[in-house]
Amino acid sequence: MVEAASGSAGASRLQLRLASDCEALEPTRQAVLHFLAPHALNPRTIFNVELVLEETLSNQIKYAFSGAAGRSIELTVQVDADRVAMRFEDDGVAFDPLRARAPVLPSSIDEAVPGGLGLMLVRKFAQSVDYERRDGRNCLTIAVARA
């Protein structure tokens, strides 16, 4: 479900390959937390990293492969002095989240629509979001500032 390509607790970079399956979310989260533990990050930073991880991977799993089984996502996590950078790669359907229209925040329960909330939260909690399509792959890099 989740394979570590490199990186152990204490290293500055973690590389994982995970199955495009909801069952991979929790083991991936645990692997990232284990990797981050020695870096003594502020709890707020950890929370924000987890939020970006959850929202981005959930969207990739749901939409990148149109339901096809047996596909995988590559995740790289890098810890720098001032940020935690996460790179999400897949060879699924081309999707640039930066082009997705930001949802209008609702002012009443009737206006609340189900779509777009995850992307909106990523934009609010990330320091930067960068996307490129290269060699048939989606490459999304999201940085969370260290609090």
């Binding site: 959850e54 002012s107 329960i109 609340a112 909690f125």
Partner: protein, 113 residues
């Protein structure tokens, strides 16, 4: 994510949540939560003091339940969210569409109970 359902005075349903309100957590309690919060058409207060994390799927569950209750003429009130959970709820503008208060007493006061 675990949940405990009790009934408070004034015919109010109280649901206490413990754990992560992420995609797996929301999926785990989705049906039970919706039934407990909405089916009877009573006012409901949701204790978030035990929630350690919240993401969009958890927020969707809260919104759909609040909407379901509104259709039945009742109200969903959230209370006790830890600081970082509260911040996420505010960033999602949830505080603009349903009451989010500090504690259980304030939640009941909000319902006029």
């Amino acid at each position: 994510m675990d949940m405990e359902v009790t009934e408070l005075g004034g015919n109010v349903t109280c649901i206490r949540l413990n754990g992560r309100l992420d995609a797996p957590g929301a999926d785990r309690i989705d049906t039970r939560f919706t039934v407990a919060a909405v089916a009877a058409g009573r006012h409901a207060v949701i204790d978030l003091s035990g929630v350690t994390f919240v993401a969009s799927m958890g927020i969707r569950l809260l919104i759909s339940s609040a909407r379901g209750l509104q259709k039945k003429g009742a109200t969903l009130v959230l209370f006790g969210a830890p600081e970082q959970v509260q911040y996420v709820l505010e960033q999602a503008a949830l505080d603009q569409i349903m009451p989010i208060v500090a504690n259980e007493q304030r939640a009941l006061e909000r319902l006029g109970v």
